[in-house]
Subunit: 365 residues, 2 copies
């Protein structure tokens, strides 16, 4: 069999091996059905059990309050960048506050600008997006349609430690790249969404956790597929959902609950993995220069640079020979990035850390 | 191993066994990568080769002209029901002509009505949606923003044999349920779209074939994910596409090209399969009552009724015991429906035909 490597891609990213193995085992026919998960009706009892278990797992893992809907939608985080302002900004006469912490929050603000007025409640550009703001740094509009933030910026490798209190103004969170990496108080948010392909499953499904009062506010003059009300009333089955991707979310959350033991445990493991790499950076005497300010460091995406581009190329080449792949930074910023989502084994991070220490020894002047 | 059954579901539907087997074989790691197709970066060389091959296969199978884009989008046909009017009706001051042939065309017209004025250029309701219109039956508006039709109505089991000529007015076709079942002149359409889960792959990807002049007309004040221009300029990689579903489209179209031998061959097989079932209906002396008028009969979805509901329940129960599943009609119309898409083996149709003949013998008075 093909040897699996350690894949540090920012997403799509590694999945837990037991989930992949179960999907493989049952791919020609789901037990008890004689039909592949790739062929099964979304109205079948077998699939109803799967989507209900996926939702139940998420509700347990995140202690989601009862007045929140859990939706399995398509279109990635980027469709959410559009749906949020289509549903809650357009036609309101208000503006929306965006906390511009990096590439993804900026992109979301640009998408919203097609639908209404937007405002940067904070912008980290002057500081080269190295840090997250403190709650006191935000200049919030009390009449804003909503406040929007991105909990973890994959490209810059920075992550919120705590979230601002926005009072009565709905807080919307793009949690795509740190969803399920640690416990989170869902009740702080009006909407919390995440594409699956970092911590929850394969590309092709986006999980939207949305408070019921928001759903009821969604306007009527929108096509169904971009209308939160229709999606919530249809319980993600208004049309054919991405059946296989939902099934994988079920398998991945089964693993999180039953093998890992929940999000507190997952966070401990994630902190331990991140610490290994940040120590390799901090102990390198400046050979590795971390991008993020230490207090804003992401436990999901570790971003750093080497002294020059030639050494970075050499680093990628040798890493690959050690079975360590996808360590290039995003094409918009360059440098190096190790994405260490939930499914990246500790062994993979140890191998990378050992390689980094050795590479530094051999190449530092 | 679990025994596979004959699944007559209207979609998601059966997939070619060789495609499922290859997906299963390579699920833990794509050959040459060490990474699962469920984990691989959409920016990787390996995935670039897959999506390019999927597009090339579709271009070969359908002889798609060079001035058409082939897009792999999310959201199902239902998002297209919204995107077409968001891009080409809203704000034009025109109305759009819908050919209302059954449940899906009607649904598409309702979705468009959220974005602008719509008109039924024909409506089969009075005839209980048993037939497709002739070209001369349509009352077309020469100034319409576009003319919209559904090439095959899965719920009613009726299918266009030829398409109307709409002159300079763009013709939009929802080909979801008969895509790739026979050759089609793509050049007749401004847009032809199909969700994958009937003939092209699993649920989670929608193929949109769109002429370049339409793409260039898409407006700027739409979020990216519902904007055809952005999707075409990004070559389906503006954001993370549904990687696994695209991979399955590649495997299914490989099978169509290399094993079946193209769409002429596929149509021959499909006609033979449909004929077997329609003959069982026509030769039953009225025991089975077909819904569709003979000239409008679909070669994908064969709809019929038994003399009463009790017999229908008995029919479903006994069919299941013969390994014949999902024969219930859509919940909105009842009755029976056998969906016999490309991947349904002739053997499955023969088994159903034999069962129908036998059931009739035993139960007809």
């Amino acid at each position: 069999m093909e040897k699996r490597i350690f894949n540090f891609s920012p997403g799509p990213a590694m999945l837990p091996l037991p989930a992949l193995e179960q999907a493989q085992r049952d791919l020609l026919a789901l037990p008890g059905t004689g039909i592949s998960i790739l062929e099964i009706s979304h109205r079948s009892k077998a699939f109803a059990a799967i989507i209900e278990q996926a939702e139940a797992n998420l509700r347990t893992l995140l202690a989601i309050p009862d007045d929140y809907h859990v939706l399995f939608l398509q279109g990635g985080a980027l469709l959410q960048f559009g749906m949020v302002p289509m549903n809650f900004l357009r036609g309101t006469g208000r503006s929306a506050d965006y906390v511009v912490t990096g590439s993804w929050a900026k992109k979301a603000m640009e998408e919203a600008a097609t639908q209404g007025q937007v405002r940067a409640a904070w912008d980290g550009k002057a500081g080269n997006y190295k840090q997250m703001p403190d709650a006191g740094d935000l200049q919030l509009d009390r009449n804003a349609a909503y406040v929007y933030l991105c909990s973890n910026e994959t490209i810059q490798g920075i992550q919120f430690r705590s979230y601002p209190d926005t009072g009565d103004v709905p807080l919307v969170c793009d949690a795509s790249s740190d969803f399920l990496c640690r416990p989170v108080s869902v009740g702080r948010f009006a909407i919390l969404f995440a594409c699956a392909q970092k911590n929850a499953g394969p590309a092709g499904v986006t999980i939207v956790i949305i408070r019921d009062d928001m759903v009821r506010r969604a306007p009527k003059d929108l096509p169904s597929m971009v209308n939160y009300r229709v999606m919530a009333e249809g319980k993600s089955l208004f049309n054919t959902p991405p059946v296989f991707a939902v099934y994988m979310v079920k398998l991945v959350t089964d693993w999180l609950l039953n093998t890992v033991g929940g999000l507190e445990k997952m966070e401990q493991i994630n902190r331990r993995k991140a610490q290994m790499l940040y120590e390799a950076i901090d102990d390198s005497n400046g050979f590795y220069a971390g991008h993020a300010d230490p207090f804003s460091r992401s436990i999901m995406n570790v971003t750093f640079r080497l002294p020059n581009a030639a050494l970075e190329e050499q680093f990628f080449k040798e890493a690959k020979e050690h079975g360590l792949a996808e360590l290039k930074g995003h094409r918009s910023v360059g440098g190096c990035r190790a994405s260490i989502y939930n499914a990246m084994p500790i062994e993979g991070v140890q191998t990378l850390r050992d390689f980094m220490v050795d590479f530094c020894k051999r190449n530092a002047k």
